[in-house]
Amino acid sequence: MPDNRVSEPSAKRRKLDPSGSQPQNQPSFADVLQKLKEDAGEDTHVEGGSDGWDRPALPTINPKRDPIIFQQIDIDEATDSTGIIVRLFGITQEGHSVLMNITHFDPYFYVPCPRGFASDDLEPFKNYLNEVSGGDYVVRTELIKKQTLWGYKGDTPVNFIRIITIDARNLPKVRDKCIPTQCSYQDLFGGVVPTFESNIVYTLRFMIDTKVVGMNWIEVPAGNYTLIHTKRSKCQIEIFIRWDKFISHPPEGEWSKIAPLRILSFDIECAGRKGIFPEANQDPVIQIANMVTRQGESKPFVRNIFTLNTCSNIAGSQVITFEEESKLLLEWSKFLQKVDPDMIIGYNISNFDLPYLMERAKHLKLADFPYLGRLNTKTQTKDTHFSSKAYGQRDSKETPMEGRLQLDLLHFMQREYKLRSYTLNSVCAQFLGEQKEEVHHSIITELQNGTPESRRRLAVYCLKDAYLPQRLMDKLMCFINYTEMARVTGVPFNYLLARGQSIKVLSQLYRKANEENYLIPNLGGGGSDEQYEGATVIEPKKGFYDVPIATLDFSSLYPSIMMAHNLCYTTLLDKNTVDRLGLVKDVDYTQTPNNDLFVKPSKRRGLLPTILNDLISARKRAKTDLKKETDPFKRAVLDGRQLALKISANSVYGFTGATIGKLPCLAISSSVTAYGRTMIERTKQEVEAYYTIENGQEHNADVIYGDTDSVMVKFGPKDLETVMRLGSEAADFVSTKFERPIKLEFEKVYFPYLLINKKRYAGLYWTRPEKYDKMDSKGIETVRRDNCRLVSTVIETCLHKMLIDRNVDEAQAYTKQVISELLQNKVDMSQLVITKALAKTDYAGKQAHVELATRMKQRDAGSAPALGDRVAYVIIKGYKGSAAYEKSEDPLYVLENNIPIDTKYYLDNQLAKPLMRIFEPILGEKASSLLSGDHTRTIQIATPTVGGLMKFAVKTRTCLGCKTALKPTNSIPDGAVCHNCRRRLPELYHKQIKSAAELQTRFARLWTQCQRCQGSLHQDVLCTSKDCPIFYMRKKAQKDVEDSNATLARFDQELEW
């Protein structure tokens, strides 16, 4: 420790040190007092921002003179006496809330105009429609020249009839009843009549027509609106306006800013009963913690907690205590209305906190509670079902609050990240780098029933849970990225979590199509399950490559294929049209490798290629701006935008292939993948043909693997620089063989590279020759949740040793050592714990965690996991032939009772496969010796203290020197060694005390860490977070150090050393 010897003054006779306890520097003390008085100022009794609930007061508005400019955040529709209205909610730059009621925007759709239908027919046709549908639904019909989006039929626009209805809800009646099958008007319509643009949501229709995109800024010019004085909502400004009288600003330049939205992050605690997950009709809500932050600020300006029963002060937060739960809930509802958040976030609020509050309020018959939105309407919780090809199915609950955005961080995490565990604890550990104390819900009730201090403890915990979602959101930039996504794709913010990918593409398609005079057909959904061939994979040449492997990537492969070959709905040809218009192959149209026909851009530029081109050039712009921008907030916005643009460009292809989507067109999607396949093959051929010894190169290039949009090339040379040069050359060379804008790019080199199988590889990732960027691994399942931690530790360490240390021998040695330690029971228990959520009680098959939960309930119903809890277990040795599910056991029980672990299970079922995967490419056949060599010979089994024979077993002590059983004849009673080993006592003691010292340190470090994490020195650690690696370790440390002490005590008996 060099620091320690920095010159210490040797003066030994100094006056008392100023840091001593004598009061000194009185003047500065007075200064401080002064400063404190100033600081305290007016907010003497304001704790946790209790004076900041209200929005800033609204100055008087003169509709004749004052424009209203706001960022709109939410949109919905309603019907009132004047007809259908659209409601836009938003916030001004000054933080005032706005509700804009928009009138006179009538819903409509189109049908193709049949031959013989003339403008005189419009009025009778309207009457006909109203008659058939049984109401005055249709306001007006008109003729309009448009083209269908689907297929190239020549360039002449044709007539369509636009049918304008009175109400969005009645539009489907007209559409479904009158048009498709039974339209017998004048017998002009033969057979099935297709409809156009008839299945788009009314609000989205409105946004498209008025060029409003999600989260953009709206300007209402002075004189164009009327101010409402008897308001129907809780918004500060409420206006009426005609739909064509306002300005929608594209989110560019100045208008890319974000208004100071109020974001409420909250968390509730309920007092559950032992062993039962809280139920709203029984268990009270005892605390609600709230944090309100203004978007763009780093700290919440309101921090408070509503508690049932008294609670000690919490510095920096307002504690609001209640004697009755119903009062608490009602006051919280009032708080919410007063603080009027624009956005509500939390962790699992959609499925737990909000529904629980709603149900609880219902149970307590609190009629005034459920008014949480901005309108004076009752809030209700609904069950929703979400199904998407990309995100799978999910049943969830939804509690819509008009005018407020909701973002459940749990949903966000599940959607955007693939994680081992989605508990708030493990998400925070991963993204915020900190563990969170976890208080089990059975302890919550105990704390609640304790003292004001114990409730305070709970409150601090609850406040932390309310704050973490906000921090996560800031850290992961969820809000900004989603805002940009809404702006780029044009859909409302709330769609992003609630809906799938396709609505975003559809919104862009409509906008572009309408601009270009196309109409989008309603294909009626349904859809087939038709499959088509996916991307191609060049069969991997498995192995461990100790030379640089260059990776050539097609940048945005699918979008550029669509652009290069003009693949679009609007360019799709059929044979008839080719014949009818006399088109010439390769001049007027192309035939794709999938044998579909598309016209060339010279005939018609496709809409999708145009959209893609816009997206990609917009992304380029955003990236250029990003490089120039220095303001961190604007950088965040730009980065969010370029990401949103990239995702959008890539989802267009998926949209055309979504067979249950709105507008599937397999001709497009199959052609895209077909092109992709040929391009990968072609690249392989070109590279392998050009880079040969015959052509003057030093080595023959070898394409060892290729997948979707990249190929891995082994050029041969051993140095990175050469390979990087070759890679970039080859990319340029191959790019010339393809149509623009398809471009092969050289991005990175893997060196070394471990190719395990299709989509499974690992390597060091280099983009410059000086230093590798990172270790990259794909498809090596270290994050699977039903694996124990040991698997990922071992695999990661092995990869590290192979790739970074470049030492395969050491990786093998390490693996052998871990296996040997595993078999000898030396691996820490926390490494072996497997966790699974107890989602429901009636699983079809028998499952380890369910069985264990049942057994634990029999042992102690109080501490047993309840529904919704995560069950942690280890696999223990069972009797011969017992099934895996019977061998699960509570890790704590195992620790306490020394129950032997089934180490063989861990070797065979957990470690073996992943290990073989990474070692086989290197060692080939020999790899299996890792699992069965000498190092697997020694097996130690813990001596259990419970069960079967143990009741009859007598423990014999053995000599610590030679392991001989100690008997009265060869040793001192309770001593450490036999007489023969007595001379070795000093060294044996030394060894024993050394290991005891390690265990002591371990104990101390683990428990003090938990103390730090819980944020209190004076209170015992209560945390039971099973996701935290410390949890089992600290239990084990406690036991180990006591065992070690017991062994040391034996030396005390040895009097004569």
Binding site: M1, D3, N4, R5, V6, K12, D17, P18, S19, G20, S21, V32, L33, L36, D39, A40, G41, D43, H45, V46, E47, G48, N313, I314, A315, E453, R456, T797, Y814, E821, D828, D934, T938, L960, K963, R984, P986, E987, Y989, A997, T1001, R1002, F1003, A1004, W1007, T1008, Q1011, R1012, G1015, S1016, L1017, H1018, V1021, P1029, I1030, M1033, E1042, A1049, F1051, W1057
Partner: protein
């Protein structure tokens, strides 16, 4: 031995006397050895025990402050904007404190980076905590205070609008009481001038060494041999003949280096042989035994264990079994002590132990036999020592900026805080005591001796106030012998302390001559840099998963 050949230099005697009441023993008996308790109990006890002392002093200190600030009993009950004072435990929130989570999260087989020498960073926060909760302390006053986790303080100030507590002044528990003893004021000249050529005035010295750091290489180190010769009086008989006893303050052995096991004797096969394999050298232990044997015939030895010695890793370190060191254990003059340890030495010859006689007295015909204890002649002189091997100070040192703060200042603070190891258990590992807080100072010792320090330093600290009267304590930082070749001699009568260097030519020289010193320090620094850059445990083979994580603190 010198006594016989040089009768003019008769070695003075001192003997161990019983400690004052209230001074704890650091021996943990079997009943207390349990690890079932959590560390919160220690903090609880500490706050309970020290709060009243702080409060008494705070009351006196701030009684004249305008507005008569009240004492708020719970830190959370302070009112915003109201001047008041609170008492609680300091917690330093420092991101650079070693975090066991980092070690767990990182790859297990990859050695962790060497431990940091400082926790200090710009993101630190000072918290004050009691049973009710914690609140952040803010303000410039804190910068000068050199606070560390675990100190009990009183803070005068007020809560600001953002929930922090702006501190105007601080108050500590102050130095504990001291038994009014014979107070021989140190002579006014500096300690360096303490005259070894005494002028006939008798005086007794106690020698302190620490950090012999015996390992396989320096087993036959000439410096250690010289040290032994010096102590028994073969080199500088004038000085050494005044030394009445030796205290070894820790780290007699260097950190254990594991030897590679023979290949065929790896973990997997050794169990057949059934012999417990010792994979480190036992030579240093034997050498230490031999060293002490050389001396034990001349003067008593107290062996205090340090972090690298065969004792536990957490405080208090327990006695090393005497049997560890071979023949020296036969000497009654050889004692193994705990770390830390309180010792009290009296001057003169120990009175005969047979002071009890039985006396028959006849009272009204009954013969009553009573045991009569002859009044022990009061020792002419006794001094109380508090000795530790340096861990508490080393740990506190990581919390503060240095310069300006020096180790001696911290040691002094520790006395004024009335606590010798405040950072335990937060960053200094200690036993999970349940109903005891043995690191609180019950009395002010005459000498506070701290071993294994980079260099010698000493200071006489005094305090006088109404509640506890006058106290004074000589703080002595004992340098690492293996790096400085120096030992420290303290004078029981004058409370003086001097550092004496054994140079390789075999002469004891007093530490002087700035030039030489500077040169010496430069060399040491180079050596340290070298030590740090070299692999810490080049021979270690075991990478056993869990244990390997925690090596830092053990070494």
């Amino acid at each position: 031995m010198t006594d016989s050949t040089h009768p003019t230099y008769e070695r003075p005697s001192t003997y161990v006397v019983e400690l004052q009441e209230g001074i704890p023993s650091y021996e943990i008996d079997d009943a207390k050895k349990t690890y079932k308790h959590q560390y919160s109990n220690i903090y609880y006890m500490r706050l309970q025990l020290l709060r009243s002392f702080v409060q008494t002093r705070a009351k006196a200190k701030w009684k004249d402050v305008a507005g008569n600030p009240p004492y708020i009993e719970r830190v959370l009950e302070v009112n915003k904007g109201e001047l008041c004072y609170i008492i609680g435990t300091i917690y330093m929130e420092m991101p650079l404190k070693p975090n066991v989570m980092d070690d767990i999260a990182s790859d297990l087989a990859i050695p962790p980076p060497p431990p940091l020498t400082k926790f200090l960073s710009s993101e630190d926060a000072v918290m004050i905590e009691d049973e009710s909760g914690r609140i952040q302390l803010i303000g410039d006053r804190l910068k000068k205070a050199n606070l560390v986790t675990g100190v009990i303080i009183g803070a005068l100030g007020m809560e600001t609008s953002d929930g922090g507590f702006e501190v105007a002044d601080l108050c500590y528990a102050g130095m504990p009481p001291q038994e009014a003893g014979p107070d021989v004021a140190p002579q006014d000249q500096g300690e360096d001038n303490m005259d070894v050529d005494d002028d006939g005035e008798p005086y007794e010295l106690v020698a302190f060494i620490s950090g012999l750091s015996l390992d396989d290489e320096n087993c036959n180190d000439v410096n250690v041999a010289m040290l032994a010769e010096f102590l028994v009086g073969e080199l500088d008989v004038k000085t050494s003949s005044r030394i009445s006893r030796l205290v070894i303050a820790g780290n007699s052995l260097a950190p254990v280096v594991l030897l590679p096991l023979e290949d065929e004797e790896t973990d997997n096969t050794k169990s057949w042989k059934n012999q417990e394999v010792i994979n480190f050298s036992t030579a240093p232990t034997l050498q230490l035994g031999a060293f002490m044997l050389d001396i034990a015939g001349t003067m008593p030895i107290h062996l205090v264990p340090g972090p690298t010695d065969p004792s536990g890793a957490i405080l208090p370190q327990q006695r090393v079994p005497r049997g560890m060191f071979g023949k020296v254990h036969e000497y009654s003059t050889f004692t193994c002590e705990t770390n830390p340890v309180w010792l009290r030495f009296a001057t003169g010859k120990e009175p005969e132990s047979e002071t009890e006689t039985e006396v028959d007295t006849e009272t009204e015909g009954d013969v009553v036999r009573t045991r009569w204890r002859a009044p022990r002649p009061p020792p002419p002189f006794s001094r109380t020592f508090l000795v530790n091997s340096g861990q508490p100070l080393d740990d506190m040192y990581k919390y503060v900026a240095s310069p300006p703060t020096t180790r001696i200042q911290l040691a002094e603070n520790s006395l004024r805080w009335r606590h010798m190891a405040p950072t335990a258990p937060d960053t200094l590992w200690c036993h999970p005591y349940f109903d005891l807080e043995p690191f609180i100072l019950p009395v002010t010792p005459d000498f506070y001796v701290i071993g294994n320090q980079p260099e010698f330093s000493t200071k006489l600290v005094e305090e006088e106030d109404e509640s506890e009267g006058k106290r004074r304590c000589r703080i002595v930082l004992v340098p690492v012998f293996s790096k400085t070749g120096a030992l420290v001699l303290v004078n029981l009568r004058t409370l003086e302390a001097t550092c004496t260097r054994i140079d390789t030519k075999g002469f004891a020289v007093k530490e002087k001559k700035a030039k030489e010193l500077a040169e010496q320090r430069r060399r040491e620094k180079e050596q340290e840099v070298k030590d740090q850059t070299e692999p810490r445990e080049p021979l270690r083979k075991s990478t056993q998963l869990p244990e390997a994580l925690l090596d830092d603190e053990i070494d």
